[in-house]
């Protein structure tokens, strides 16, 4: 797998880079874009592609391994764990959005927005990206 397009990171975010990596890999596995047995870039490849400290990458991979998303194959390469044969059901995938939407909901309450306006904006954004 091409390490330069495997994940993207945002600097300047309050979310640590290793967290960003974990969440992106989880989303791609949940969506079925990454499936059981798919090989992922090595720590070295990804550290060099992203110009990120290798410990940041290995920390993310270890946590993904502990959570059963990745598994270590004989030798050193890591692959997507065997249980992830296909995309997760919609109900499970939508749960992955919860933390982001909770944040958006808190901000919406701070702004004292009517629910309908906030929902309309989310819908508009979804439609924009789709077109």
């Amino acid at each position: 797998m091409d390490p330069t397009h495997f994940v993207h990171i945002n600097t300047g975010s309050p979310e640590p880079i290793y967290r960003q990596l974990i969440e992106q890999v989880k989303r791609r596995v949940a969506a079925g874009q990454l499936r059981a047995g798919d090989e992922i870039p090595s720590v070295r490849e990804l550290a060099q592609a992203l110009a990120v400290h290798p410990m940041t990458i290995s920390k993310a991979y270890s946590m993904l391994e502990m959570e059963g998303v990745l598994e270590r194959r004989r030798g050193l390469s890591m692959v997507v764990a065997a249980q992830h044969q296909k995309a997760q059901p919609t109900a499970d995938r939508v749960e992955l959005l919860r933390p982001t939407l909770e944040k958006a909901a808190a901000e919406s309450r701070q702004l004292e927005l009517p629910k309908a306006s906030a929902l309309q904006l989310f819908k508009t954004i979804l439609d924009e990206q789709a077109s």
């Binding site: 070295r44 992203l50 290995s58």
Partner: protein
């Protein structure tokens, strides 16, 4: 990755109780303590004029402190032997290249001082970074001089690399390329790196640990990941916050008084404590603004 954080080894550099004053400016370093462990990549953060360059020069034994001890690889930094000296690479903020030399002459000259010299790396970087070998250094652009200074610092495969604003004259592509080179050093050699820059996005990528220089001391040193996860900004009355912090076991890092007995406090929560929902997450720029 087992070369990282072997706490039993001698620190690559260790400063204890270091004070230094300039006749005109007064004290710059005030009984400063600092340790760089083998394999760490530490980003040094501080405002302009906070003494970052002075600190790095003192660490290298280029300035003698008024008080305190500075040790590099276990030796007194002011009296390093040749073997220890050969294990250090330094990119100073002000280019100190001999301007009358060509890059080829300069590198040949430095090569004669070092027992180890990675010719393949030098040649590779000279081509990749497009540096004219036979043009006088004074005629190279600021960015090219900076690249040449970086090549010189990496050529002898140092175990300790000290970088003082190494990328100020490089464009974003040049900076990314330099960061990749740094990552490779860390991967291949477990090099200890200390890196001062105001380009926070670069630090965020490569510096696993951050050190904040403030009022002549290292006010805080910690892994960036931990700071982003544990440091939050709280706003409330002084008494509210005091009781909240004692309940959470939070450690206040910076207080900013507001009107009507209220304050904004940046505080670090103990690892694993549930973060209160109304606490505000911070990014590296916030940490820099509040802690330096």
């Amino acid at each position: 990755m087992s070369t990282h954080f072997p706490h039993t080894e001698t620190p690559s550099a260790e400063l204890a109780g270091v004070s230094l004053s300039y006749a005109k400016h007064g004290p710059v370093l005030k009984s400063l303590d600092w340790q760089l462990l083998p394999g760490q990549v530490v980003g040094l953060l501080g405002r302009n004029g906070s003494g970052k360059t002075t600190l790095l020069e003192t660490l290298l034994g280029l300035r003698e402190p008024d008080a305190g001890t500075v040790r590099v690889f276990g030796q007194d930094a002011g009296r390093l032997d040749d073997a220890a000296r050969a294990r250090i690479g330094y990119v100073p903020q002000q280019s100190d290249l001999f301007e009358g030399f060509t890059p080829a002459q300069l590198l040949a000259y430095f090569k004669s001082f070092y027992p180890r010299w990675n010719e393949a790396k030098v040649e590779g970087l000279m081509s990749r970074w497009d540096i004219a070998r036979d043009k006088p250094i004074r005629k190279l652009s600021g960015g090219q001089q900076q690249r040449l200074s970086i090549i010189r610092a990496l050529a002898h495969e140092p175990d300790l690399l000290v970088l003082d604003e190494p990328v100020a004259s490089l464009d974003p592509v040049g900076r990314r390329d330099f960061l990749r080179e740094l990552v490779e050093q860390v991967l291949d050699r477990g090099t200890t790196v200390v890196f001062s820059t105001h380009i926070l996005s670069d630090l965020e990528r490569v510096a696993f640990n951050l050190a904040f220089l403030s009022e002549g001391r290292i006010a805080l040193q910690a892994p960036l990941d931990e700071l982003l996860e544990q440091v939050r900004a709280f706003t409330g009355t002084v008494t509210e916050l005091a009781s909240l912090f004692s309940r959470l076991g939070a450690q206040p890092l910076k207080r900013t008084p507001l009107e009507a007995g209220r304050e904004r406090v940046l505080a670090r929560l103990p690892a694993g404590v549930a973060v209160p929902l109304d606490a505000q997450a911070v990014n590296l720029e916030d940490l820099f603004a509040e802690l330096t």
